[in-house]
Symmetry: C2
Subunit: 420 residues, 2 copies
Amino acid sequence: MATPTGSGQARLGRDPDLAAPGAPGVTQEETRRRNLGAVLRHVHVHGPTSRAELTSRLGLNRSTIGALAADLAAAGLVTEAPTTVRRAGRPSLVVRPRSEQVYTHALSVEADRLRAARIGLGGRILDLREVDRPGGMSTFDAIGPLAGLVRDMQRAVTGDALLVGGAVAVTDTTRDRDGRIRIGGPDEALRAAFEAGLAAGPGLVAGDLADIAGVAEHVRGVAVGTDDLVYLHGDLGVSAGIIVGGRLVAGHRGHGGKVGHMVVNPYGLPCGCGSRGCWETEIGQAALLRHAGREPGGPPAVVEVLRAAAGGDRAAQAAVRQVADWLGFGVANLANVVNPGIVVFGGSLRDIYAVGAETVRRRLDAMVLPAFREHLRLRAATLGRDAALIGAAELAFAELLADPLNVGAAGRSGTGPTPA
Amino acid sequence: MATPTGSGQARLGRDPDLAAPGAPGVTQEETRRRNLGAVLRHVHVHGPTSRAELTSRLGLNRSTIGALAADLAAAGLVTEAPTTVRRAGRPSLVVRPRSEQVYTHALSVEADRLRAARIGLGGRILDLREVDRPGGMSTFDAIGPLAGLVRDMQRAVTGDALLVGGAVAVTDTTRDRDGRIRIGGPDEALRAAFEAGLAAGPGLVAGDLADIAGVAEHVRGVAVGTDDLVYLHGDLGVSAGIIVGGRLVAGHRGHGGKVGHMVVNPYGLPCGCGSRGCWETEIGQAALLRHAGREPGGPPAVVEVLRAAAGGDRAAQAAVRQVADWLGFGVANLANVVNPGIVVFGGSLRDIYAVGAETVRRRLDAMVLPAFREHLRLRAATLGRDAALIGAAELAFAELLADPLNVGAAGRSGTGPTPA
């Protein structure tokens, strides 16, 4: 039987056009933009690469790659130089991202810290500053201190550097001054306020911290090479960055992945969101302290319980097991719904997983459909706290990578930020 | 502040390249393929369209559209003719899909029926045949009868018709002869067996019925225009087709959307999958009969309970409410995870929703985060039983739409199927 190319698949959904009835056509300019973006993205993600390798990796011919690389070099985004290693045949020029010169502002509003970094093309952290975030400080109130960190960083920037974008990762839960947990990811008003407050360079993107940290682990962390992943982030609350087929599940209103508010225990405790028995009430930091018989407290109290468990304290061990059991319960549900190749544990859930991996796994064995379980890897996050900043930089670079010459030119004409 | 084009977004994930570190370049041939596909897809989804309108809809210039349409016409995929309606100015040729000549085989293995259709470009059902599926008939055993239906249909096909693909939608639950429910979506072995059994034309795609019916509702049903949707299908079990950002959530192994095996009730009944308290145990057909105090039975028994509820029977009404309550519970969890714009109820869940919409809505009000709830529409499926076939045809057309001239030519050279 004749089987045309690409048929014979038992899997669905890999065709990006399958469910996209309104796909537009592709113009010549669009083709050029995409190819410039593909070259720049390759060196941004994989580091310095020879023209010869780019030719084979991107499936374009040698002269096209040469022209694209020359255009990117002329725009100041990459450099080209002969490789220092001598090989047989004609030497191929190596294309390098100009990491020191082309950079973004990456910011994070975390449960207890505010952080700001300058991150260069290629994902290099050029500068990083941080301050405490006092309990009760709203996300809007965090704009002032973050703008201060950005101004401090900008004083050290040399004249020919090019700011191409900015992004802020915002945790979706914060604790009010009275200790109550508040829920609410970034919205357009918050983004605009950040943009105004920073008063520097090109536009700003805002997103949920878990989404953004998930992107970071996918592009530069433990989930490289897996296009279907669930990144779980725990701090005061619990949220997820879900990537399906290589793309973030942003949701209809940009708020996908609020997994902390799946109800796992219909007979459970009231949750700050107004519901009852949310996952957060069983695996959040407060749950661990509660199960351990301790007073409510912040991250230090959580660390203490984890240390006690590692040191053999029975009550602490039982508390970690109980949280790990509910952790596995929710992961199993997500696995049956999304069928990820990998689940990554970040933030405080990384610590729970480190101690309670066996308990988590036992839950999965009991609840996840066998066909899914077989191929499901569980991993601790590897980028640690920097994931939010590294992911924010990826977001901030997205526009440059989608249209390198246009954004490069816009940034240059503005000669970067002029701090107030 | 200078804001480059496209920035200023508070939402993530709309950039298809954001989390795709390995995007290849675009060659000229690829550009042409994509544009041919865009034109053909447009008339396939939206019906006959003038060249002028294609020009504005696809963002390509007039001469490019003219050349693309001519190529598609030469390949026998569309016709071009002047519009019959007189307007001012030069008349624009109307491009029409050749629905009678260019077709696919769309098959479905449902809980209690086997169905086969010939569906033409543009989504027109040209022929449809069906037979009962006896309890206990495995999916493999369904191949023979379905191949028979296909042979019958092929006898009526005229010489110049062009078979461009086939797809089969398989429900992921079937009842064994002993009444036990078995779980397992299509895999590569099943797909290959179908392909061999049909022995007709180009390759065959296999997918979960819920995924495929979800695609149908997205492309031609109640969810047109919404790119983030959850389609829920109930028969013996419960499964979902989840579409995010316009793409099906296929999952790491092609098995996304097994929502029937989310555990909603940790203290619930054992499930056929080996777990306990799965959503299926609370909202499947068996649950409705159980709550109504009836003996286990098939679809007729379910219909009887629904009729009794509509007729005022208290016990039946209470049973529907109880199932609707758990239906809302699971939908709320999915909404918090995926943040869809619309949830569509299909199969037996359509009937539950029709009677218990208020109960479902009450659960969502209690459990879904307010920011999500506001924009969430709940709808009954509109394509009914044909959704599986219409969606299967979309899958089967995907290859043609991705590369119209290549697939068209391959189909033609084989002069279509030669039924045994």
